[in-house]
């Protein structure tokens, strides 16, 4: 936690933490507390007058079927993204770890989508699936399947899941590969001598040993799907058609900035905060456990 010896107490440490603390207070803690405060206000769209209504905004939200379905949709979306990107990344990492030569080359070729901004990824996938021009939709049309994510809500959802998954594979791949390469080779060799084939070795040795990584990635992927996919949704579907792809983060933005429902948007913000806090706590529980090993 702290060094055995330290410098003499002085004003210096306060000056050192000052920039970080000032920014934290001004742009994190103060706005967050404002969000909590605003979530208890009823404000007219012009911000002229406001009234303290305590938890009414929350009550309104919880009784709102639209909010509930947004919540459900976000859960479905996140689970799909997490499951798909984790499975694909696990398959790729396992094979990349298995091949004798080329592991590094494959790694190079697989990791760079991490660097692509979500909104950029969304734009590209939207282009590929453009209902009139897109290459894939043209191909799908050729085999008799009509693709139009502007009209079909399920197709729109599929598209943002695809874009979000594509971007996340590299991240998961990297961590899986790092986890697998950290397993002592002697362990795998011992299993081979005991007569386990490659598939059996994977499921009985490698997979259990990287389970901490898997758990960590699961949390990270949910955080990613909950928050960082805003750009994808905003670029590709804007939450449409008919709110079929509106996830929680998008709704906060939409209700607050476009709909100007300040109290409701703030209440949604606070709920999102609680979700992040929960995920962070889970994450830290996991780290604590890891330390004990």
């Amino acid at each position: 936690m702290i060094k055995r010896t330290h410098f003499k107490p002085s004003l210096l440490p306060y000056l050192l933490v000052a920039p970080q603390i000032i920014i934290t207070v001004a742009f994190f803690i103060w706005p967050a507390s404002q969000a909590v405060y605003q979530s208890m206000l009823l404000e007219d769209p012009f911000g002229l007058k406001s009234e303290l209504i305590w938890f009414e905004n929350y009550a309104l939200l919880f009784s709102d079927e639209i909010y509930f379905s947004t919540f459900l949709r976000t859960v479905v979306f996140s689970s799909l993204v997490a499951f798909l990107s984790l499975s694909i990344a696990l398959l790729l990492a396992a094979t990349a770890d298995h091949v004798v030569r080329g592991t590094r080359t494959y790694r190079t070729l697989l990791i760079w989508p991490y660097a692509v901004a979500p909104v950029v990824a969304g734009t590209i996938w939207m282009f590929i699936f453009d209902p009139t021009l897109g290459i894939v939709s043209y191909f799908l049309h050729g085999i008799g399947y009509e693709w139009n994510h502007r009209l079909n809500g399920n197709q729109a959802m599929a598209l943002i899941v695809l874009a979000a998954t594509w971007k996340q594979i590299s991240y998961n791949f990297l961590f899986f590969l790092a986890g697998m390469q950290a397993i002592p080779k002697s362990l795998i060799e011992a299993a081979a001598i005991d007569g386990a084939g490659p598939a059996r070795r994977f499921w009985t040795i490698i997979f259990p040993l990287i389970s901490p990584t898997t758990f960590f990635l699961m949390v990270m992927n949910i955080v990613y799907a909950f928050f960082e996919t805003f750009g994808i949704v905003h670029a590709v579907t804007k939450g449409g058609p008919a709110k079929a792809t509106e996830i929680l983060v998008y709704k906060v933005f939409n209700d607050g900035f476009i709909g100007l429902d300040l109290g409701g948007s703030a209440a949604q913000s606070v709920i999102l905060m609680l979700i992040v806090i929960t995920l962070t706590v889970i994450q830290f529980r996991y780290i604590e456990r890891k330390v004990e090993y």
Binding site: I2, T5, H6, F7, P9, P13, L16, V17, P19, Q20, I21, I23, T24, A26, F27, F28, W30, P31, Q34, A35, Q38, L92, H98, V99, V100, G102, Y106, T108, L109, L110, W112, Y114, A115, V116, A117, V119, T123, I124, F127, I128, T132, L133, I135, Y138, W166, S170, A178, P198, M220, F227, G231, H234, A235, V252, F257, A266, M273, V276, I277, T280
Partner: protein
Amino acid sequence: MIEQRPVAAWFSHTVLILGVVVVAFPIWITFVGASHDAIRMTQVPLPLLPGDQFFINLKAAFVDGVGNAKEQSVGIMMFNSLIMALMIAVGKIAISLLSAFAIVYFRFPFRMMFFWMIFITLMLPVEVRILPTFEVVANFGMLNNYWGLTVPLIASATATFMFRQVFLTVPDELLEAARIDGAGPMRFFKDILLPVSRTNIAALFVILFIYGWNQYLWPLLITTDKSMYTIVMGIKQMLEAAEEAPEWHLIMMTTLLAMIPPVLVVIGMQKLFIKGLTETEK
């Protein structure tokens, strides 16, 4: 590996090559799209092989500007992105180094309180406090400038934790030797601590540069002036402007330009990138 059966090896390589193809396919299409002219990009089916208009499109993007923001050149947007990415990366690293140094090497009242305050930022991503943060920035008069684009993003719990971790692994004796040699706190920080953690700083820089470059929601909120647009949000504005008939060849060119810098950073500094990613995210 232990045994090498040719069939298994072939299978592995097939899976991996397939993976690479799937991962690369969108980028290929982007590149192809950026190398044809506007007319070809309205004819179904769209081409799968590159055309000869790449440099003409490149010039169009840089010189003539794109979208309905015709007057807005991609060059200026890339410059804005670069400034934003650099300011965020350097700013985060600087203030995190300083606060980690204070927390590890000094014992002072409220030390733990400061530590927890920094920790809390981890739980407050910008997405959950959009409106009130926007209000704060507006009150400070930081809309439509680089300060507003970057300063609210540079508080960083993860960077502070990473440096704290790095400093904790620096042997105590190094500080003691430096003290006996006559170094004061800032001397020690500059002469010993910074050089000792330079690879960690570089690794973090790579990650934060990408993070900064790819910012979307935040610039979208606080820039209304076209001269402050970053390239990542510029793409969105182009899409929006041309709802009817998007100029796909230019949009794809811009998209390509938007991802080249961070992708080059990842591939060119792969080792640092992996180190940075695995060290900050634990």
